[in-house]
């Protein structure tokens, strides 16, 4: 940005601050000012014109302290822009692209982009067709996501949402996806924890943390998600898939409400401004799977790029209070996203990690990206989990249960134990499929879950360390065109695979025909397939 005198001489217009509150200033003069134009004050602060009245303009000031009355202001004839570039990878920056700390060596990028842009239309979009792996088996198997999907992460405070997000970001960063974590109104300590997590897992070089701390001006917190999205769009235009986490939009809505009420906008429901839906919708619509411009070296090197598209996957976060997902902001964001992952406080209290409730969670477009095998597993697992829940409710009464129900409960325990995953563990899709199929086959039937977990840990560590083992498992999964085919293969090879991974197993007698459990209708008993 140039100096105050430069704009005064070049534009030839001047304004004077007549009134000022925190975050807002009312400037008279500046006859040619346009909406959203950047205004520079003689003290060095700057702001954005948000509302134009007959004799003055309301300026959203990006300063912690109110501007003094009679301060002069000039137009810059530009919109609010941020620098964008690869230089930001590995950095923690504020919404205007300035590094938060001065420790890391840093060169500011030269290219700038407008923060507020229009979302691309339908003709610029491509169907979501690539799998998005979170690395968390419960999410990937029951609530699959696709690249370009907008999936809301919703739940009470302290239910593990941020841990889940950090795992997801780490998994995607390891695969080379550019990850942008936007901390909106967070404490510095929380951002530091995230940074330490990424550094300890050696993925920081693919991650940008954009932080608007809770003590920042409300105006800066308001623009931070838009700035993060602008940065995501830059990397998308370079041909790179991007993951954008917005943590969290409740805080964003609260600060926007504060600004609107100070600006004397008529309050709507819950005192939020009437345009709160538009505020979030125009942000989230900028995510998706896009057809990138036909020119550019990245397209020439990879002609399939326009067929598969380049994705900005967005994971906005919203907090609930006492599990109430019917709140205003919560329902707004749920209606503009492609599904939600619900973190249940009751499951968290029971010790489930992650505390995702698969029955309340929804994914609208993730299943279309899955292979036939994964879709079959998803269907089987969903039916099984539904049945399991009903049986568990029934078993609470303490009535005597048949052996079938006992087997179902035991399998349910094994599956639940498999889904329990700490924040340090990340499972690839193939590994998830392999471990699940072992459980479904019955490798650990009749054994305690601790023993199963120990065996799984051995398999996981062997899998991570040996490429040939990974290839063997991947080949086995690729050849299977159905779950039954995979179960047959597992039946033939499981002993050898487990022995290779260092798991001591008594050979399991396979069932006569390794069919999956057939899920009966509600009023019928469950029976094994013949």
């Amino acid at each position: 940005m140039n100096t105050f005198d430069h704009y005064l001489q070049s534009v030839g217009e001047i304004g004077f601050v007549d009134d000022a509150t925190e975050s807002l200033a009312y400037v008279s003069g500046l006859p040619g000012i346009t909406p959203n134009e950047l205004v520079l004050f003689e003290t060095g602060e700057f702001g954005q014109a948000t509302y134009l009245m007959e004799d003055k303009a309301e300026i959203l000031v990006f300063s912690k302290y109110p501007i003094d009355v009679s301060t002069r202001a000039v137009r810059t004839q530009t919109q609010l822009q941020i620098p964008v570039g690869k230089e930001y990878l590995g950095q923690i920056i504020d919404p205007f692209g300035n590094p938060v700390d001065k420790i890391r060596p840093f060169t500011k990028p030269t290219e700038t982009r407008n923060i507020d842009t229009r979302a691309p239309g339908i003709s610029d979009r491509v169907k979501i067709n690539k799998v998005f792996e979170t690395g968390v088996s419960l999410a990937d198997m029951l609530i699959p996501l696709g690249k370009g999907q907008r999936e809301l992460i919703i739940g009470d405070r302290k239910t593990g949402k941020t841990n889940f997000l950090l795992q997801t970001v780490r998994n995607q960063a390891k695969k080379g996806v550019v990850c942008i974590y936007a901390a909106v109104g967070k404490k510095k300590h929380d951002v530091k924890v995230a940074e330490d997590y990424f550094k300890s897992n050696n993925v920081m070089e693919n991650i940008i943390i954009m932080a608007a701390f809770v003590e920042s001006p409300a105006s800066m917190i308001y623009v931070s998600p838009y700035a993060a999205m602008t940065l995501a769009e830059y990397f998308r235009d370079q041909g790179q898939d991007v993951l954008l986490v917005l943590d969290d939009l409740n805080t964003h809505a609260k600060f926007y409400r504060e600004i609107s009420l100070l600006g004397k906008r008529f309050p709507g429901r819950n005192a939020y401004p009437p345009d709160i839906f538009y505020t979030h919708a125009r942000l989230l619509e900028r995510a998706g799977n896009f057809r990138i411009p036909s020119k550019g070296a990245h397209v020439e090197n990879n002609p399939k790029m326009n067929e598969n598209g380049v994705a900005i996957t967005c994971l906005p976060v919203v907090e609930t209070v006492q599990g109430d997902i019917t709140g205003y902001i919560q329902t707004n964001i749920m209606s503009m996203t492609d599904g939600h992952i619900y973190f249940d406080v009751d499951l968290f209290a029971k010790g489930r990690r992650p505390a995702i409730n698969p029955f309340i969670s929804v994914t609208r477009v993730g299943r279309q990206t899955q292979s036939h095998l994964r879709r079959t597993i998803n269907r089987e697992l969903t039916s099984f989990m539904t049945l399991l829940e009903r049986i568990e409710n029934f078993a609470h009464f303490g009535a005597e249960t048949s052996s079938t129900i006992k087997n179902t409960l035991a399998t349910g325990d094994a599956i639940t134990s498999f889904f329990d995953q700490t924040s340090e563990v990340i499972l690839s899709e193939d590994l998830q499929t392999f471990l699940f199929t072992l459980i479904w086959f019955g490798v650990w039937r009749g054994k305690p879950t601790d023993s199963m977990k120990a065996d799984m840990a051995k398999i996981m560590s062997y899998y991570e360390a040996h490429e040939d083992y990974r290839k063997q498992v991947a080949g086995m999964i690729e050849k299977a065109d159905s779950l039954n085919a995979l179960l047959t293969t597992i039946g033939q090879k499981h002993a050898e695979l487990l022995k290779t991974a260092g798991v001591n197993q008594t050979p399991t007698q396979p069932t006569q025909n390794p069919q999956p459990i057939q899920i009966a209708k509600t009023d019928q008993k469950v029976s094994k397939g013949k």
Partner: protein, 180 residues
């Protein structure tokens, strides 16, 4: 009271200092209307208002057939004049020197001609502009100062000026014997 009836008063007002002075005197006059010190309203006008304002006000009251003893009517007309004065638009002028009265009159008539008769000047003196004026009116900023012109000149003709200076230094440093 229509505004054009006050034009004879408004024409006397040139600067924001004039406005402030007249408004203060009108307020003193208004507060004196309810004090009994044995003076009539015209006498109070002569005492508390500037002479030209008092003269014009009496003339305006005569034309409007307002009885000076009717305090409410006097109050209304004075209030209207005060409101008119407060609504005058301001043109800010930054000059390098304090202008004499003749120059001030010329500038004031130029301002009223170009910006309307309902404008007054706010004059600030800043010697650093060297000459000319910086004008701010209706949100527009025009810098016609000598300093700006010199800055532009020095920027455009930087190289020529540098050569001129170095040539003059060279001619000064010639030995005395060569100058006849």
């Amino acid at each position: 009271m229509p505004a054009q009836q006050f034009s004879s008063i408004l024409d006397q007002i040139q600067t924001t200092d004039d406005v402030e002075r007249v408004v203060n005197s009108l307020e003193s006059f208004l507060s004196s209307l309810y004090t009994t010190n044995g003076k009539t309203v015209p006498e109070k006008m002569d005492e508390l208002l500037p002479s030209h304002i008092a003269r014009e006000l009496k003339s305006t009251m005569e034309k409007s057939a307002i009885n000076p003893q009717q305090i409410e009517e006097v109050k209304a007309i004075v209030g209207a004049i005060k409101a008119q004065l407060m609504s005058l638009r301001t043109v800010s002028l930054t000059l390098a020197f304090d202008p004499p009265q003749k120059a001030l009159d010329d500038i004031a008539s130029w301002v009223k001609q170009h910006f309307g008769s309902d404008t007054v000047m706010e004059i600030a003196i800043h010697p650093h502009i060297l000459g000319g004026a910086v004008v701010v009116a209706n949100g527009r900023y025009v810098d016609k100062s000598l300093k700006k012109k010199l800055d532009i000149l020095f920027t455009v003709k930087r190289q020529e000026i540098k050569e001129m200076i170095s040539n003059s230094e060279h001619s000064v440093s010639q030995p005395v014997g060569n100058i006849r």
